[in-house]
Symmetry: C2
Subunit: 89 residues, 2 copies
């Protein structure tokens, strides 16, 4: 889209007690927000299911977040169907 | 919201070769779609980073999906700011 030099940020985040180094073009702040969201989901799930392995907790977190994504997508599509049509033409 | 008896579905799904039993009020089809999304993310990440543990792969998948969620949320909010305001009152 633009010709700005694409800076790759490398950000250290901690998720459920483990450090991860995330690389990406997104800002450090954004990457930290994303990590915090995952960390919180895993924390909540670990409290609910204290005997699960880290791998299973992370998969459950991923399922949980996908559910959030699908629900938002559906809400957005319904909104587009309602308002998108009425503003056409 | 309504007084329908809430059926709890228990659905077996396979994510990155592991079986999970997911319980929820959502339909079996929906739960399978959610699981498929996570399974695909983990598959793509495993091809890209074949040496990562299952736990790290699942955390990366969760980060990736959160990024999808945040981007969609931002798009939706921008849409609401544009069209929501113009349809007010």
């Amino acid at each position: 889209m633009d010709n700005e030099a694409k800076t790759i940020n490398r950000v250290k985040v901690t998720i459920n007690g483990e450090d991860y180094y995330i690389k990406g073009q997104a800002s450090e702040e954004y990457i930290k927000q994303v990590a915090k969201y995952v960390d919180r989901k895993m924390y909540e799930l670990e409290r609910k299911y204290p005997n699960l392995s880290q791998a299973k907790l992370a998969v459950l977190a991923a399922l949980n977040i996908t559910d959030d994504l699908f629900k938002l997508r559906q809400e957005y599509e319904e909104f587009l169907n309602t308002f998108g049509n009425s503003t056409e033409g």
